[in-house]
């Protein structure tokens, strides 16, 4: 993809690129290199001496049961956020796609959660489920006698951060599913209807296969979001607690690096997360090009 007509200037293109490249080098490439470097050295607490230790930081990390617990929590968390979010928004989008009257109004009412910061979403859900005044916690207790206290119950805390993170991402999924649904050819649906296929059967045999590229794209985006975009939800609501029940990997990097001052361990975790995000991005790009269906 190149232009046939270009301008001739020796210096100008470099001047135009300079700001972008400077910021990229200073705040992306250099720190990333530093993270990789710090993951293979051991620094004393005062930052005075450092020596090369090879993969010792990684070995220490992999021998740590707490790290594996965080890995399991992260996997469960992201699978739940992705599947709940995709399921709910697909249902909403399918129904909204059928609606002719008031479609724009519904859309406007469904897109705004995207604009809410994850940390604010965390505060909102923390308030709704607050054990002493939260309205949902109150009705759960009065209505069905269920004690909901995410401040002390780890499982409930994990459920709540999943709920808040899913809520925050709903509108994004909804918009992409709706766009996907609207690009399903009408003639195909009409032909199937004439042949006697009901709405459910049409959804199953036509809509769903045609939506699978969108679905797969959203799955990857949602997993990236759950891995890296949900720090705010967790920090504002549970701070990784209680007893590390909601400590996902990104939160652990922050906690170990800034609170625990364990730079080597934190850098090793950064290196692993970098590998994960690079892998996910590559998957995203490869499969979007190729498409899942057909």
């Amino acid at each position: 993809m190149n232009k046939r007509v270009t301008f001739n200037a020796k210096l100008l293109p470099y001047v135009l690129l300079a700001p972008q490249i400077a910021v990229t080098l200073a705040f992306f490439i250099w720190p990333s290199g530093q993270a990789l470097w710090q993951s293979v050295i051991l620094e004393d607490a005062f930052g005075g001496n450092s020596r090369f230790v090879g993969f010792a930081n990684f070995e220490r990390l992999f021998a740590n049961e707490g790290y594996w617990a965080s890995v399991r929590i992260t996997l469960f968390f992201s699978l739940m956020v992705a599947s709940l979010g995709l399921g709910f928004s697909l249902l909403l989008a399918t129904m909204a796609d059928r609606i002719v009257r008031g479609a724009t109004a519904y859309k406007a009412l469904l897109v705004w959660p995207y604009a809410v910061a994850p940390a604010v979403a965390g505060v909102l859900f923390g308030f709704l489920f607050n054990p002493s005044v939260g309205i949902v916690a109150y009705f759960l207790k009065k209505g069905i006698g269920y004690e909901f206290n995410f401040v002390i119950n780890g499982g409930q805390a994990l459920f709540l951060v999943i709920l808040a993170a899913t809520w925050n991402q709903i509108s994004y999924n909804f918009l992409f599913f709706l766009a996907g649904l609207q690009s399903v050819p009408r003639s195909l649906m009409e032909a199937a209807a004439i042949d006697g296929a009901g709405p459910l059967w049409r959804f199953w045999t036509i809509t769903l296969p045609l939506l699978s590229p969108t679905g797969f794209f959203l799955l990857v985006v949602n997993i990236i979001y759950a891995f890296f975009g949900t720090f705010g939800v967790i920090d504002a609501m549970t701070k990784g607690g209680p007893a590390r029940a909601t400590e996902i990997l990104v939160f652990k990097v922050y906690n170990d690096g800034f609170r625990g001052q364990d730079f080597g361990g934190s850098a090793a975790q950064s290196a692993i997360l970098m590998a994960i995000v690079v892998a996910l991005t590559v998957i995203q790009f490869r499969f979007i090009e190729r498409r899942v269906q057909y």
Binding site: K3, F7, P19, T24, L109, V116, A119, F127, F258
Partner: protein, 283 residues
């Protein structure tokens, strides 16, 4: 709709309305919470309908602040900080991306593809995975507790550069030829022809990046230590997590409303640009 099925249409409306209700419920409770006084907000069950203390709560939060000691900063300070940060990130990103894309598309020069891939790599490295070293860079540059520290590290963006690159590639070559025949140099062509043509792309990016900048949380958390530089999202989270005998939910909810309002307004009022931005930046 392919055929007329009243029952299914009714079901569709019902499900979507239910979805809207579930999604809007947290917002409604936040609004209701921001309109009552403190004593009401400490007694379960909380009211489900707005009270009469709305103006009073918002005035207190905005101009007096609450909490004790250093935590007592009027919220308008944080709101101004968030606005500066959001606009700075937004304008900075668009400005440096559009000229970088211009250089990559309209010029042939050594190392062109190398620079292109260098920018591309930033796509893969969110702040969250390189927290400690990025903080160290900013600290060593003396940018802690400053607007430039809040803004500059976030303005490099592969997505914006890509978006402009795609757009520039779709601009017909005849236009460039005509401009050159008329004696326009690269700078003139950019300012007089390319920039006005990019208006819709710029507007779409503006919406997405404004929300991105306003909602930043981890980054301001790391590099600000003084209340006068806190963003509104940060201030809110800090107030919720202060160990206080009686949390002032009425004020916290008023703060939450104010923290949500600007980005939500931008999305609702600029919905067309928002959807375009969302779809374009993900291509």
């Amino acid at each position: 709709m392919v055929e007329n099925r009243p029952l299914l249409t009714f079901l569709s409306h019902f499900v979507v309305l239910l979805g809207v209700a579930i999604i809007a419920f947290p917002l409604w409770m936040t609004f209701v919470g921001s309109t009552h006084d403190q004593t009401t907000m400490l007694r379960a069950p909380l009211p489900l309908w707005p009270g009469e203390h709305m103006l009073e709560n918002y005035r207190t939060v905005l101009f007096e602040g609450f909490g004790t000691g250093a935590a007592r900063t009027p919220l308008y300070v944080s709101l101004v900080n968030s606005l500066i940060m959001a606009l700075g990130v937004c304008v900075g990103k668009i400005a440096i991306s559009i000229i970088a894309a211009y250089a990559v598309v309209y010029f042939r020069f050594p190392l062109r593809m190398f620079f292109f891939w260098l920018i591309f790599m930033t796509l893969m490295l969110p702040v969250e995975v390189r927290i400690v070293p990025t903080y160290q860079v900013v600290a060593s540059l003396g940018m802690v507790d400053s607007y430039s520290g809040l803004i500059v590290p976030l303005i490099a963006s592969a997505t914006a550069t890509f978006l402009f690159r795609q757009f520039f590639l779709s601009v017909p070559d005849e236009l460039t030829e005509a401009a050159r025949i008329d004696g326009a140099g690269p700078v003139r062509f950019f300012i007089d022809i390319l920039l006005p043509m990019s208006r819709t792309s710029i507007a779409a990016l503006f919406v997405i990046q404004f929300i991105y900048g306003w909602n930043q949380y981890l980054w301001p958390l790391l590099i600000t230590t003084r209340e006068s530089f806190y963003t509104v999202v940060m201030t809110l989270s800090r107030q919720v997590n202060t160990v206080d005998a009686a949390p002032s939910w009425n004020w916290i909810m008023a703060m939450a409303m104010l923290a949500m309002l600007p980005p939500v307004l931008v999305v609702v009022l600029m919905q067309r640009q928002f959807v375009k931005g969302l779809v374009d930046t993900e291509k």
